[in-house]
Amino acid sequence: MFNMNLTSEQLEFRSMLREFVNEKVKIPALNSDRLQSFHKPILNQLLTEISELGLRSLSIPEELGGVGGDLLTSCVVLEEISVGDADLAITIGETSLLAGLFFEKFASDNQKGKYLKRFLEDTQFHLCFAGLDTNASDGWHYPKGKNQEMDITLRAETVSNEIVINGLVDFITNGPISDLIIAPVKLDQDYKLFIIEKSNSGIKCGDEISNINPTETIWHHGICSSLEFSDCRISKDDMLNTSDGNIEFFKRKLVQKAAINLGVGRAAFEAAIEYTKIRYQGGSNIIEHQAIGKMIADMAIKIEHARAMLWKTAWAIDNQNTISDFSMNNLPLEIIASSFTAEAMQEVAHLSAECFGAMGVMRDMPLQKYLEDSLIFLNSDTQNLSTKLRIAEAVADLD
């Protein structure tokens, strides 16, 4: 039956993380030197500490030694971390999502045996996915949907009982820090997923991608690099037990990243409240001016709506009967939620910057970072013009 209460475990976990973020994350993350620098290396020490709190294994079932959180729990948790630092949340979220899917659904017993212990014991053990997220561009094919397969860039062939993989995948979140790679590969006209150790001599990891670049700006969060496969040899036993693993992964990733985006908006919102309560102009603290009050209210409305839909979406993805029993509409909820969140949080960051006046554009202050973070979300996982058309495709149901 309908119920919007979080479990006590979820509530405790969230409140523990909120405290952790306030006490440990904000100070280094919002250090003015770090804020001013174009390149912001990941806060490695905090990444390890967050791993130790159980976040890497958040989505792994309890019976396998994980926390056993569902997608909703991931949303709750990642929003909190992102209030402190979006890049940390992206990094830990990627590993947690992939580990959850892999150990719960995609892995054979053999593969579990091979990797589970290592994963649980090594707090610096991360995962990445060597495939392209096509959410950002699929809408351009409207009104005809697009063949998902088109975007697999890795090709493999079977050579004397081994699988040999070739190809380059650009822009892989967690690429530089991962020990294991889940890779979608085209093998003899079929699409397969494989688990591959990055230490494989046939894999070359590119340099970490920087935000600043003389010829192109690269809007991204977390730690990214390319991975190049040159005659990368693996065993047939490394094949995963799934036929639509990439769809499952990207759908969840979109929701998780929207939760992280929500955290950025919340950080901006909380900063605005704090600042407008102490900034004194026009005869009172500026929060008492109607003009500011309206902005505060608009931010709250956007944040609450984004979260309500996001939680609903996370629930629906984990509980398909919510759609099959018609409690919710059969629509691409993850795109509905993430498109709204991206636009709404950009507006929230913008409104907050307006509350800050000149302080909103100073590079040694947090606001400009929130604003930049929110702009990146607008056109990375979803594309602000085209992605929505996938919603229209589903509504129109033209086939």
């Binding site: 620098s37 010829t215 700006t217 809007w219 102009q281 005869g283 003009a291 000149a358 100073m362 013009l385």
Partner: protein, 396 residues
């Protein structure tokens, strides 16, 4: 009779600015933007080159050795320079703002002491210090209930001099200026409209120094700095107008600075940014493929480009009209309405340009990102809620 055509002088300045913008400003625009730090993106050489062509002293009347252009010409030149780089354009036009002030409000002695070196020295930049850490909006719309609101920098008479103590913040051209107009309280017991006085303060004034240079997300070339006054000694003949008649009135205009010019400056600059964004969008969309055809063949992109151009042309029309009204000496709410409007337009147009460039995911022309960051500056200069409230107050 209604006529939108440009005269020869206007066309000539427009062309000159266009050439300079294309050949000297645009090529350094992104490289300077990508230099870390607060001061480092600045570059004297482009200022000097532009100055030699008249772009630093454009607003100085002919009798004082300047080109003596009107507001319409100034708007046209800003549109061109800003198309190359919004921040570099502002570094030039900031000087026009205060040369308007010298001409309108200073006495003959002050004009000859300060306009002459300004004309001669290609590195002579002007700035004005109003804002203080605790006095931003209060300088624009001083609350009637609180006479202490607004700037607090103190000026006390000492013989033929004034002793200034206090601190200004975010001051434009602060780190590169040779001469500053400083708003100070000569009577701390009344509000700034009645107890404020405006001083001319050259950079070598004893007791006056530059503090922190601000590192901004947008307009990175353009300099903003703290000005610190510790028993700074300024001669009485550097007082503009009368003591205690209020620095606002002394400056012959409103508290946003620069009389009528302030609003026009930002709005015309925004037109240039929008023109640049439109060029970028059209050229990108005409070449990149997505979903089996060029971006420009997609209706969503066509709608975005049409909207960008629509807003740009609406803004350009508004700016030209107000520039003309300014040349007629007409004052109305139109100036502040226009500058509010320029904020909405420059934000929207640069964002749509970003959306179009986002069509291929996370990689983009860095100029696209720069324009969005530059546009954010308008939110706190030209169209924040305080200035919008001010617009209302002028409607009555």
């Amino acid at each position: 009779m209604m006529d939108f055509s440009l005269n020869d002088e206007q066309l000539s300045w427009q062309n000159k600015a266009r050439d300079f913008s294309d050949s000297k400003i645009k090529p350094i625009s992104v490289p300077r933007d990508q230099i870390e730090g607060g001061f480092d993106p600045f570059d004297w050489s482009v200022i000097e080159e532009g100055s030699k062509l008249g772009f630093r002293t454009l607003a100085v009347p002919k009798e004082w050795g300047g080109p003596g252009t009107g507001f319409v010409t100034q708007a046209l030149v800003m549109m061109e320079l800003a198309r190359g780089d919004s921040a570099i354009c502002k570094a030039f036009s900031q000087n026009w703002k205060w040369s308007h002030l010298i001409v309108n409000a200073c006495n003959e002695d002050q004009k000859s002491r300060f306009l002459a070196p300004f004309i001669e020295d290609h590195r002579y930049m002007l700035g004005r210090g109003i804002t203080e850490p605790n006095a931003g909006c209060d300088n624009r719309l001083p609350p009637k209930s609180d006479p202490k609101a607004g700037y607090r920098l103190k000026a006390e008479r000492d013989g033929d001099d004034w002793i200034l103590n206090g601190e200004k913040t975010f001051i434009a051209n602060g780190s590169v200026g040779s001469l500053f107009f400083i708003d100070a309280r000569t009577d701390p017991n009344v509000d700034i409209i009645h107890g404020g006085t405006l001083f001319l303060v050259p950079k070598d004034t004893p007791g006056f120094r530059i503090g922190k240079i601000f590192n901004k997300a947008g307009w990175r070339f353009y300099q903003n700095a703290e000005l610190i006054f510790e028993d700074a000694r300024v001669p009485n003949n550097n007082v503009i107008g009368q003591v205690g008649t209020g620095s606002v009135k002394a400056a012959g205009g409103d508290t946003t600075g620069g009389d009528l010019f302030g609003d026009l400056e930002l709005a015309a600059n925004a037109v240039g940014v929008c023109d640049d964004a439109n060029d970028l969008a059209m050229s990108y969309a005409s070449n990149k493929m997505q979903g089996g055809k060029k971006l420009v063949e997609h209706q969503l992109v066509q709608l975005a480009i049409a909207e960008m151009n629509m807003l740009t042309e609406a803004l350009r029309s508004f700016v030209l009209r107000v520039a003309w009204e300014h040349d007629q000496g007409s004052r109305s709410a139109n100036g502040v309405l226009m500058v509010n409007y320029s904020t909405d337009v420059v934000l929207k147009v640069t964002r749509l340009n970003m959306d179009i460039h986002g069509a291929l995911g996370c990689r983009s022309n860095p100029r696209v990102d720069k324009l969005v960051r530059d546009a954010m500056i308008w939110c706190h200069l030209a169209g924040d809620s305080n200035l919008r409230l001010k617009a209302f107050s002028k409607l009555n």
